[in-house]
Structures are given as structure tokens and as C-alpha cells.
Symmetry: C2
Subunit: 308 residues, 2 copies
């Protein structure tokens, strides 16, 4: 089945202990699309500027991503500059040139009306709500957000959260959103805000999905934890979270029914895709990846965690 | 089979957001012994002072722990005071009265000479080495250490590490010991110092065991990760690491052979015992625990991580 992602397609200028890259393609919708494209049909709604060439677009289309929703606006493409220190856990933003992204007003092409799944990548919560309301027929809505919106757009975000089935955030965001330093308590408070499930990403320690009681036909309310791969050399963590979301949502969208088993396997595929993303700069690794490698790593993730 | 732990039996005065406790029994050997006692026969070598009463000792003996190696010295028992802030991740030491522990010179009773397994809890590395060399016949040696010894007794610790089969430390200690901020790289460097395996404890994110190539008959060198339980209310994290070690080593000692399967299950039992320890103050929870509860939580840990 098809999945639509609404988010940013951007340029990134990155510096990590392993090197530098100038103006390479990035953005949440790019990472999500490339990652999900290994599992299902992906459609993208985003805005780019006049400096976004046909060659840049081919990064997406060569993976089969449907870019009819990619709006071309007058001006320059969103450009983010960031630097990672030695432990590569946190990016230090050097500059954020929003450019055409500043006035992004997502339009859903008519051809996308039959989309089955929706992922609201990290954009202003007000825009997330608008998009979600334009897609009443989707089976499941995934969403992301960030500290900035939790701080300055809390009311708008509360509206969005009522419209999101599965929220994917990291530990710090979950704790900030809930105002609670205990992660399981924070997760429960977030679930009271609307989502049926919340996936909390722990970086190198994996991710945990917490469920609302009775959601997805689950008998018990126990969380489920997927590992991350202990990776010697993280070259560039940019996009790892969006790749996790792409693997998670993409796998779900590839299955006819959303069972607890599908959800658990989706958590593993999320971790797998995140682990590939960080091995090289930007989306480089995703461009050379095969489904066979993905399933091979899925088996490795299983052997990392399963007793038998 | 039997396991001997050499470490501290102490009094703790604790403050956490959930309350305070004055001079309750604690210490690495206490937590380890109580935890391991659910799996196998435990013997303890430690020193206490004149303020350590028969009632205190019954905390150990009522769980079947063999206390013939508990030396009574003139003076007061080691007394540690600590306080935990809101997120309960790190203890702030208020006082450390070493008392009789300052001149601890571990003596192994003759009756302990046939011990099968040895755990060197966190004491001066020089003493760990002495003890290990007095027990040449043990099948497997586990060990712990801390930042203090990594800083001020690095050479002595290097000697200890040559004599330890499985080292159990936390993320920060592993990175400090190896001088490397990448955890998998740090683990590999620690393995080059002597141990066949290193268990790195990640607190609420679980623990990972890394292996030397070919150790324990493992074909591949992949690490194995066990979860921690997402616990709403951590009342007191004191002793969680020693309880992990007790479950891990105790389970290993309970099995006739050390197979990869036993090691993986031991990682889970370690996490299980750590998760009980933090539910109540000091060793309170361990004193009321049953093996049935332990195995029930083992199944929960499995369901938290296993796809099927």
C-alpha cells in the first residue's frame, strides 16, 4: 500500500569527525522517503527552491519515490548547517536558512487522495493538522515533532496529537512534552494526549513502543523494545530518526493488516534502517542499499536480542 | 554449584525522592549475595564492625548465604551516605566512612577452597588480584570496578583485568577505561585488556555483552543485548548493578555448562534482578522476593524484546 510523507526536502552542510559535506540533499521527507521506499510505494509532499536540480530529484525518483507532490517555489531550498562533536549524539546547528520552507503550505495533489498511510514529519504542528484533516481516509497516521514546537507551539501541537495514531519522538522530547523525567510515566502522559502508541527512540540504545490500553488488539499493555546496532563508527547521525520512521511506517504500510506481530517487526525494521543511515554521510548509504542487506541486518538484530 | 563474592557489606544512609533510610544494610557483597541466592549457593567474604548485629547478618543467612567468611573487626562498619535527585540516575555521595573497610584484607576460609565460581565485587583492584590468585581452581571469575580505581589505580587494575573472565561495568566506566567515546570500540579495547567478555550496563536501557573472538564457543562475535524493565517508579537505584551481577553470575553458576544459551539467559536474569532491586529501598524487595516472581519477570523481559 502507499504512504505519503509531508516534511522537508532540504540541503544539509555537515561536519562530523569523519569529514564534511556541503549542500547535500537532506531533510526529514528525503530520509523518510528513501527509507520507506524499500518496503512500499512512497509519495512526498514538500517544497524546494530553484537551486534544487533534476539531479537532486533523481535521488528520490531513482528509488521509485513519487515526487508529483514536490512543489517548486521561487527562491532557495531550505539549507541547514550542523556540526557533530566527538560522541556524535547531538548536532550543533551552525545555521538554518529556511528560505522557501518558511512559507511552506502543503498541497496534496489530487492523485494522492487514495493514499493509505500518512507520515507527518517534523514540520509546524499547525501544518501537520491541516494535512491530516485533508486526508480523512488514511488507515494510520504517524507523526514526529521536535523540542522547538513543544516549547513555542504547545497548543497547536496538542491539536495535532489528537490526530496522530503513532507518535515517534526521542527520550528528551517525550520527557519535555510530558513534563516528567521518568520515561515510562512520560510515555503514558503522551498517550493521554491522543496517540494510540508512542515510539520513543533512545539513540544507540534502540527504541521502545508504548501502547494505549487495548490499542491494535494487544491483550496486554506491555511496551516492546527494539535494539540499535552497536556501531563502531557512526559517520553521520543526520536523518537516523527519519530513517527509523521510514522503516517503521514503510513496513507497516507493506502489510495487509496491522497486527501486534507486524508492529514488533516494524520496530525492528525501524532500528535496522536507522543503523544503515549513520554508516555514511547524508543519505549515501540508503542510495546503495538493497532489500537483501536490510533483511540480513534484521536477522542480526534478532540475534542481538533473542535468546533462541 | 557454589559462588563466592568478595566485596563490601556496609550500612547505607539513603535519600531519594521517595523517602529516606538510615543505616540500612547495603554494600556490593550484600546485594550480590541476596540476588545470586535465588539461583545457587552463595558464600561471602567481607568485613564488618562491632555495630553489625546478628539481626543484620540474618538478612543474609535467611536467604541461605554462607557467612563464614564474614570477618568481624574492631570498630564500625563501612557506612555510605548518598542522595539521588529527580531522575535517579546518579548518586551524590554525602559521606563515605570507610571504617573497618579501610584495612580490609580478604581471607578465604578453608571451607571455601572448593568454590566453583568467583565474583570480585568493587574493591581495590590489588585486593581483587590477591583474592583471585588464592582461588586458582574456580571455573569462571566475574569482576566489577569503578571510576575511582580507573583513575588512581590503573596499573593495579590492569593486573586484575588479566585475571577476570567477565567484567561487568557501566557505560561511563567502559568509556573511561578504554579512553574511547564509542561504546562498541571501548568494549573491544577493554576485551584486549584480558576479559573474555565485558557486560556493559546501560541503566534503564538494559545491558550489552561483548565477546572476545571465539570465547565461550561462540561462532560469531556479535554482542547480545538484554533489556531493562521500563519502571514507572524507581524508588532507590542503590545496588541495582550488584543485583544484575548476582543474577547474571548466579544463573551461570546454577548451570552445569557455560553455553552461549546460558550466557544469554544470564543477561536476562541480570536485568530481571536489577529491576526488582530498584522497586523498593535498599535490599527490601530482595528480602520478599520469590523465584516464581523472578521467572515471571523473565517471561515479561522476553515478551518486551522477542518478536514471537
Amino acid at each position: 500500500m502507499s504512504i505519503l510523507v509531508v516534511g522537508s526536502v532540504a540541503f544539509d552542510t555537515l561536519k562530523t569527525p569523519y569529514g564534511v559535506r556541503e549542500k547535500i540533499i537532506g531533510g526529514s521527507a528525503t530520509y523518510f522517503s528513501l527509507s520507506a521506499s524499500f518496503f512500499t510505494d512512497v509519495r512526498v509532499v514538500a517544497v524546494v527552491g530553484e537551486d534544487f536540480t533534476a539531479e537532486h530529484e533523481r535521488v528520490l525518483t531513482s528509488r521509485g519515490v513519487d515526487t508529483r507532490g514536490l512543489e517548486r517555489a521561487k527562491g532557495l531550498t531550505f539549507h541547514w548547517g550542523g556540526e557533530y562533536g566527538d560522541n556524535l549524539n547531538e548536532a550543533k546547528t551552525k545555521f538554518t536558512d529556511l528560505n522557501v520552507f518558511e512559507n511552506f503550505n502543503p498541497q496534496i495533489p489530487q492523485e494522492y487522495a487514495d493514499t493509505d498511510y500518512l507520515f507527518l514529519a517534523n514540520i509546524q504542528p499547525g501544518l501537520q493538522t491541516q494535512v491530516r484533516d485533508k486526508m480523512p481516509r488514511v488507515k494510520l497516521v504517524g507523526g514526529d515533532t521536535m523540542n522547538l514546537w513543544i516549547n513555542i507551539k504547545r497548543d497547536e501541537l496538542a491539536e495535532t496529537l489528537k490526530r496522530v495514531d503513532v507518535l515517534l519522538i526521542n527520550d528528551g522530547e517525550a520527557k519535555m512534552l510530558a513534563g516528567d523525567q521518568s520515561l515510562p510515566r512520560a510515555a503514558r502522559k503522551v498517550l493521554e494526549m491522543g496517540p494510540k502508541a508512542v515510539v520513543v527512540k533512545h539513540g544507540e540504545y534502540g527504541a521502545t513502543i508504548f501502547f494505549c490500553r487495548g490499542a491494535f488488539g494487544l491483550e496486554a499493555q506491555h511496551p516492546f523494545r527494539a535494539p540499535a546496532l552497536p556501531i563502531d563508527e557512526v559517520h553521520d547521525p543526520t536523518g537516523a530518526g527519519d530513517c527509523f520512521a521510514g522503516g517503521f511506517m514503510g513496513y507497516i504500510a507493506s502489510k495487509p493488516e496491522l497486527t501486534p506481530l507486524v508492529l514488533k517487526r516494524a520496530m525492528f525494521y525501524g532500528g535496522v534502517m536507522g543503523s544503515f543511515a549513520v554508516e555514511r554521510f547524508g543519505p549515501e548509504r540508503l542510495q546503495s542499499l538493497t532489500r537483501e542487506e536490510i533483511d540480513c541486518r534484521f536477522d542480526l538484530f534478532r540475534s542481538l536480542t533473542h535468546i533462541h
